[in-house]
């Protein structure tokens, strides 16, 4: 009798043991959720009307905000210059940087025309994860996109994206660094502002 109970215990443990790695698709699931949510906004015929453009933009932005860790991204992009900034400057720069990315990439999202997204698994290493995604264009070309995520509590947040193997953060890090070392941080802020307000 006792033995059967022991076996049962083992069985339960075994099932749990298998179930835990099964749950590991968690960061991929998060990316999938956000992508699906954005696609549903983009495809929504009710929001296609030009008069709704502002609302649509806001909806997309809020979906992106939920998944992206802007502070972490900005910290990584500013790199060695981050520590020298005051808390207010940091806050302002996070806003500028996220606005810049929004301006640069939101247009691309709005141009969406039925490209397929293929999920190719994730690699989790401690609190870090890489989710591999392939975007298949209508001409059947694959564009590999890698999302890099970090565990934050129970959530996974994106801190870098590589497209075609080129890291977004590395790109901005090099640019910010050369602007700051050649002129100044104030100049970089000015340039970013000009870029964001530019039509």
């Amino acid at each position: 009798m006792k033995r059967t109970r022991l076996y049962l215990c083992f069985l339960v443990l075994l099932v749990l043991g298998i179930a835990v790695p099964g749950l590991a698709g968690v960061s991929e699931e998060k990316i999938k959720q956000t992508t699906d949510r954005i696609l549903s906004i983009v495809m929504d015929p009710a929001l296609k009307n030009p008069s709704k453009a502002e609302e649509r933009k806001k909806l997309i932005r809020s979906a992106v905000d939920e998944r992206f860790d802007w502070t972490e991204m900005t910290r990584r992009a500013l790199a060695t210059h981050w520590a020298q900034r005051t808390p207010e400057e940091k806050k302002e720069f996070v806003r500028l940087f996220s606005d810049l990315l929004e301006r640069t990439y939101l247009g691309k999202v709005e141009d969406y025309s039925g490209e397929k997204v293929r999920y190719e698994g994730e690699t989790i290493d401690g609190d870090y994860s890489v989710v591999k995604v392939k975007i298949v264009t209508k001409k059947n070309k694959d564009i590999p996109v890698h999302y890099r995520l970090r565990k934050e509590g129970n959530d996974w947040l994106v801190y870098d994206i590589s497209i075609e193997g080129v890291s977004l953060i590395n790109n901005y890090r090099t640019q910010f660094n050369s602007i700051i070392t050649q002129s100044s941080y104030e100049n970089l802020v000015k340039q970013l502002r000009a870029k964001i307000t530019q039509k």
């Binding site: 500013l78 790199a79 264009t137 070309k141 890090r173």
Partner: protein, 147 residues
């Protein structure tokens, strides 16, 4: 007696020549004889792009170390870097493989990060960027624009 002196002189000369040759080959071959100074970190790349052991590692164009070892680890390239002693690499630094010129040799560039955490000896540079395959990009350009 005189002949013996001449032989000694020639012998010494040749020994000096061999020592010089040894020194040159060690210097030029970038070999280390007496224990290497510095510390090791490793990084995993999806593609090493034909990088060789001994390739230079640069930060802001300054030589800060060498690639010590390249192995295949789970079908990815595991590179061991030997970095200058005292050099601090932040946890969010990015190591990327670059090419000198269009077809030149491959080397590693580390862009320092902003994290307060520093990678310890034997630690891993998590963020890596493999070289862009120009051939692949050209084929994409030829057979269809990406966006």
């Amino acid at each position: 007696m005189k002949k013996f002196d001449l032989e000694v002189a020639v012998g010494l000369f040749i020994i000096a020549g061999i020592v010089c040759l040894g020194y040159l080959s060690i210097k030029l071959g970038k070999m280390e004889v007496l224990g290497e100074k510095g510390y090791e970190v490793y990084a995993i790349f999806s593609n090493s792009g034909g990088l060789k052991v001994g390739s230079t590692i640069e930060i802001a164009g300054v030589d800060v170390g060498r690639v010590k070892n390249i192995t295949l680890d789970n079908y990815q390239a595991k590179l061991v870097f030997m970095l200058r002693e005292g050099l601090k690499i932040q946890e969010d630094a990015i190591a990327s493989i670059k090419t000198k010129g269009l077809v030149g040799e491959r080397y590693i560039v580390i862009t320092p990060g902003g994290s307060e955490k520093v990678i310890q000896p034997g630690g891993r540079i998590r963020e890596t960027q493999s070289p862009v395959d120009i051939e692949e990009l050209i084929s994409k350009f030829v057979f269809g624009k990406i966006d």
